[in-house]
């Protein structure tokens, strides 16, 4: 009763997804504040040893349901297991990754249980009344809302990947594995949707939807230096963009070109590194909500539409940004 549940997603190689380990770590901190336990739920066809990884991330108890038919995620069997288990165990909160799987499953579960579900959270906390504070961007990323579910339990949330830190804890004094029986939790009717075929493909580059774009111009100097942009973008959950001059120079793939003959982007933040600001480039990014321009030339045309101007060497500034983003993530 009143524990924090984490629904654990499995990758194709059978390992627990990073987002789930991030959630277990966060759940550990929240659980310690209100003196409850963290319980993970894993549903799949080969779960041997899965608990060892979870115990490292602060989990007390792992519910395992193993069945041949569960090789790939499907909504209805996972829905059956989660709803039955939640009705039986009555947790305080249930957390899911805000991944395609989590955002397919969690709403259906919340609907059945008639409890609140906050989507795509970027932060979680507990308020003075013991309610889970769920913080999420909405309105295309233009606002940040704090959402509470004061009257109904469990409080459910999906949490964005990469925003919580994965942590290793000393193994809890009390750890258990609870095996759930397929006969009790699953029904034949849960398998009415058939997977006919599955094709995994390499990720295609598409920067249009990225909330943050770290974009490089000719002033970045080399393909090697562009790696720094990838590192910063990775830390911020964003993508790398570029000018035509940078693409022509072979610093990165043409799919990343922003501008009149590339893609038009409107991210929350556009960090322009060594970009002069030609009109053909500006037309593809000037609607970004916040623009940061890093340029050795204090009079670069792009600076006139930037919210923040940093006059200096882009490689040096980006290296510092990476350093401080990393130290901030650790806090």
């Amino acid at each position: 009763m009143n524990n924090i549940f984490v629904y654990c997603e499995l990758k194709d190689d059978g390992k627990v997804a990073d987002v789930s380990l991030e959630l277990c770590s966060k759940a550990r901190h929240l659980a310690d504040r209100i003196n409850v336990e963290v319980e993970a739920v894993v549903i799949g066809n080969k779960l041997k040893g899965v608990e060892l990884e979870l115990f490292k991330h602060g989990v007390n108890n792992v519910f395992c349901l193993e069945d041949q038919r569960l090789a790939f995620y499907q909504t209805l069997p996972h829905f059956s297991v989660m709803t039955k288990l939640i009705e039986r165990e009555k947790p305080y909160s249930v957390l899911f990754g805000a991944t395609p799987v989590g955002r397919d499953l969690a709403p259906r579960v919340a609907s059945y249980l008639r409890c609140g579900l906050t989507a795509d959270c970027t932060a979680l906390d507990i308020d003075e009344n013991g309610n889970l504070m769920q913080i999420r961007p909405a309105f295309g990323g233009n606002i940040i809302a704090t959402i509470l579910c004061p009257d109904v339990r469990p409080q459910m949330a999906t949490v964005r990947e990469g925003v919580m830190k994965q942590e290793i804890f000393e193994r809890q004094a009390h750890t258990t594995v609870t095996n759930l029986s397929a006969a009790e939790f699953l029904e034949p009717a849960d398998f009415v949707v058939n997977i006919i075929e599955r094709k995994l493909e390499e990720k295609r580059i598409d920067i249009k939807g990225a909330p943050i774009i770290v974009s490089g111009g000719y002033g970045m100097g080399s393909k090697e230096n562009f790696k720094l942009l990838h590192e910063l973008a990775g830390l911020l959950g964003g993508e790398v963009g570029a000018t035509r001059a940078a693409v022509d120079a072979g610093f990165c793939e043409p799919e990343r070109q922003v501008g009149q003959t590339g893609v038009t982007v409107r991210p929350k933040v556009y960090i322009a590194c060594g970009i002069s600001g030609a009109v053909q480039h500006r037309s593809g990014m000037e609607q970004s909500a916040l623009i940061i321009s890093i340029n050795t030339d204090p009079h670069a045309p792009l600076n006139s539409i930037a919210d923040y101007v940093i006059t200096g060497d882009a490689v040096d500034v980006v290296t510092k940004m990476i350093k401080y983003c990393k130290s901030n993530n650790k806090k």
């Binding site: 579900l117 579910c149 949707v193 901030n328």
Partner: protein, 272 residues
């Protein structure tokens, strides 16, 4: 002959993708006047998939197939029903009532599911994956649960459709999957799906004065406790605007202190 009924759920939304620098008021609230109301982009794709499905089923099965669009919103949301009819939908309904105000996704999906049930018979329901204002992507799966039908999320292509089953391609995080389900089923449509066909001139003429039915809460026979604010367990406690108003550019020093300060400020403002 039995009619084959396809329902599309569509929402009218403020155009949050076109948020320019003037979209936010100085006090941090949203300047709705600067944001035109549009047909939610994913829902337009859901409409196309429904129309395509109608074309396939009509051709092969010679049954009468209807596409009906349902929206919940203020009376002016009838604009998107009209737009749907110009593009080929057979009809639509607006459900509108002050008692729906303050609905979270649980209450929204309840009202929409009750409206679908009120239609009597349905075979397929298409929704968008996500609305661009609330951004939750929860209403589709929650409506499916309330109707007690399976769901297929993130579909981007119809592979085959008959009067009793559908086969779709759906987008995974790292690939694609082809799945098949018996009907009825609810399908949420991914932004990668085909764009919607354009308006037909003859439909614009023939349907521009059609009356669009408007249902109130009473028409869908609800449990009133499950509507609106009362039926919504999530409460928005606080809203912060993250778009910084356009100011003169701020100069940041490129030394350690300058960059650390900037990164910390942006992190504190939830921008990073």
């Amino acid at each position: 002959m039995k009619e084959f009924q396809i329902v599309v759920l569509a929402k009218q939304v403020p155009d949050t993708k076109n948020v320019g620098k003037d979209a936010m008021n100085a006090d941090g609230t949203i300047n709705r006047a600067a944001l035109p109301a549009i047909f939610n982009p994913d829902d337009m794709k859901a409409l196309e998939m429904a129309l395509e499905c109608r074309d396939i089923i009509k051709k092969e099965n010679k049954v009468d197939v209807k596409v009906t669009v349902i929206t919940m919103g203020p009376p002016r949301a009838s604009e998107i029903i009209r737009e749907s009819m110009f593009r080929g939908a057979d009809g639509g309904i607006v459900i509108s009532d002050k008692r729906f105000a303050g609905s979270d996704t649980l209450a929204t999906s309840y009202a929409l599911a009750m409206a679908i049930k009120k239609l009597g018979h349905y075979d397929l329901v298409f929704t968008g994956r996500q609305a661009i204002d609330g951004d939750t992507a929860q209403v589709g799966p929650q409506t499916a649960e309330k109707l007690e039908v399976p769901q297929i999320t993130y579909a981007d292509e119809i592979i085959a459709a008959t009067t009793d089953s559908i086969r779709l391609k759906r987008v995974l995080q790292n690939g694609v999957e082809i799945v098949e389900s018996k009907l009825p089923v609810l399908v949420t449509v991914h932004g990668n799906a085909q764009n919607c066909r354009s308006r037909h001139a003859h439909l614009v003429i023939s349907r521009k004065n059609d009356e669009i039915p408007m249902w109130t809460a009473d028409d869908i026979n609800p449990d009133f406790e499950r509507l609106g604010m009362k039926g919504s367990p999530t409460k928005v406690k606080n809203i912060e605007n993250v778009v910084l108003a356009k100011k003169e550019s701020i100069s940041i020093k490129s030394d350690d202190e300058g960059i650390r300060g900037l990164v910390e400020d942006l992190t504190a403002a939830h921008i990073f």
